[in-house]
């Protein structure tokens, strides 16, 4: 079992920083390379890893992540491969989560997936296209297997919706900073801070902000009002631009280090 999210957030809080959560699709560019890359992110200070489960129709994702999941699927990354990646990550030092669109989980079997993930040492799942209304069997399966289930809130969520979402969430609440898809942006959505404030009124759970964060400076800005900073596309872009795996590992370490400094509220 990897580190629990509750433990991660308690520690980052006491250290006066936000948790740094890094995303990469399992299997990008190959299953083995993705493990090396994610472990390098952990080495450089990432507190939790979101292991992306590649899906053929990623309608929440922008161009960088679409490219990466297509490559991962072409490299033969099945759900069983994703679970193997989870098993081989350094869970002593980071919480290991899975981010997946709903159909692959439903197809694998809701209960079976929760059991297999727990056995692999993963302990949380982010489901970007599942809302609590459709999640009946998932709520039961995650509870029975002590898997944190992370739902999203968005700038367009009404206060009533936020209450419904956080009531069914555990681990942390994922606040989508902007109305849009994943991808690095020059500015983090202006609505993010207001959304975090609204969510705080509804829950004591940690709140992490994702979508559009790609630099240490942006991470620092978001860490001032949130409990966690989620970065995905920027890591994917580093890897796309690298000429080979050693270069990709170096780029990922550099970016993770910069972001880890950024999430420290006392720095800068």
């Amino acid at each position: 079992m990897s580190r629990r999210l509750s433990e991660v957030f308690a520690q980052t809080k006491s250290a006066d920083r936000a948790a740094l959560i890094g995303y990469l699709p399992a299997g990008f560019p190959t299953p083995d390379a993705s493990i090396e890359l994610m472990n390098a992110m952990i080495d450089a200070g990432v507190d939790a890893i979101e292991v992306g489960l590649p899906y053929s129709d990623p309608l929440m994702d922008g161009a960088d992540i679409q490219f990466a999941v297509d490559a991962a699927l072409s490299a033969g990354t099945t759900t069983d491969v994703v679970l193997d990646v989870v098993r081989r990550l350094d869970g002593e030092r980071a919480a290991i989560l899975v981010m997946s669109y709903w159909n692959p989980i439903e197809r694998y079997g809701v209960e079976r997936f929760a059991v297999a993930l727990a056995a692999a040492g993963g302990n949380g799942v982010i489901t970007p296209d599942l809302t609590p209304e459709e999640a009946g069997p998932w709520l039961a399966a995650t509870k029975a297997n002590e898997i944190d289930r992370i739902f999203l809130v968005a700038p367009s969520s009404t206060d009533d919706r936020i209450v419904t979402v956080v009531k069914n969430t555990s681990g942390f609440v994922y606040a989508a900073s902007t109305m849009g898809v994943t991808g690095a942006r020059s500015q983090v959505g202006a609505g993010a801070q207001g959304l975090v404030a609204r969510a705080r009124l509804a829950t004591d759970l940690p709140i992490a902000v994702g979508l559009g964060v790609s630099t240490g400076a942006q991470a620092h800005e978001v860490a001032a009002y949130s409990d966690g900073v989620i970065v995905g596309s920027a890591f994917v872009r580093c890897i796309r631009q690298a000429v080979d795996l050693p270069a990709a590992l170096a780029a990922v370490r550099t970016l993770a280090g910069e972001l880890a400094e950024g999430v420290n509220r006392r720095a800068g």
Binding site: L59, N103, V181
Partner: protein, 409 residues
Amino acid sequence: MTTVSTAAVSGHYGPYGGRFVPEALTAALDELDAAFRSAIVDPSFIDRLTELERSYTGRPSPLTRADRFAAHCGGARVYLKREDLNHTGSHKINNAIGQALLTQRMGKTRMIAETGAGQHGVATATAAALLGLECTVFMGEEDTRRQALNVVRMQLLGAEVFSVTAGSRTLKDAINEAMRDWVSTVERTHYVLGTVTGPAPFPEIVRYFQSVVGREARKQIQEAEGRLPDAVIACVGGGSNAMGLFSGFIDDPSVQLRGYEAGGDGVETGRHAARFAAGSPGVLHGTRTYVMQDEWGQTIASHSISAGLDYPGVGPEHSWLHDTGRATYEPINDAEAMEAFALLSRTEGIIPAIETAHALAGAMRVGRELGSDAVLLLNLSGRGDKDVATAARWFGIGAPEGIEISEGR
């Protein structure tokens, strides 16, 4: 056969339907749901819709008795519901105008749409021009090549056509891209989904605007025959023309509902779009329904000579009609469809869309099965002008100069 009520219960049809979307879209879907429900009880909205159907679309569409074609359908009496005679040449305009009026009602100024064959894109671009709305249509790059004529039509109508190069570069990828645009621009944009699938309330809304087909046809066939038909027949891609026709007869247990999906090169080849014959329940594009997917839940690309049926999912209400046995669905392969395409052209002087040709091939089967006393009612969902190049290639007819023959698949 029992009567099955398929009325949506909070967007669900038995285990199918629902809303599998990013939270960011929930508010927009709730807004759409509220706008739809208030519109359909507002006499001024209904009056406007009815007037446009009459004076712009050209409704009611006629019912044509097709005796020479019927001779190839076991001698059954065959009636064609002529949606091909609508403005823009297919049933798609019924939904596009309805949703364009909803767009205005919500105070939005821009519409986006996905399109495969281009018929829904053309219909949406048309409605946008009529009502003075901005319009962007997402179309897979592969389909922009296959249906180049419709790309130009959309551009002439003032729409922007966005060629989608992600994934398999066909309809399913166009839907992904439309969803991505929508989540980023939802404050001023309405997504005009073209068929009875997607997250609730889309399947219900599209069915509502297409139900005019079934309503008219029920009245017309009773006037012509003094009784209900034995079977109503339609092709099923996403399933909007079928749902429109079926909706008029769903509560009549004596009327068989027959849907025909694309068998492509043959179901046994794996190159098809036969969701019921070879798919399984899953979640795609925001709804739970029958999906062509592999053992890991990855969508399998579909194949059909007909771009409009070339889609790996299907509307959730069809899935429920299938499971309950109220409707039956069978695949028609490319060759059978093209044979029916040629037959209708030569026996009735009507060149159908290749999508529709799948329903015509179905009628030939049903007629032979039910015999000469049977009355069949078929939705002639679209005309075949857009398919002339594909058909010329299929039949080996030399194309006149100036017509580009797209690559068949």
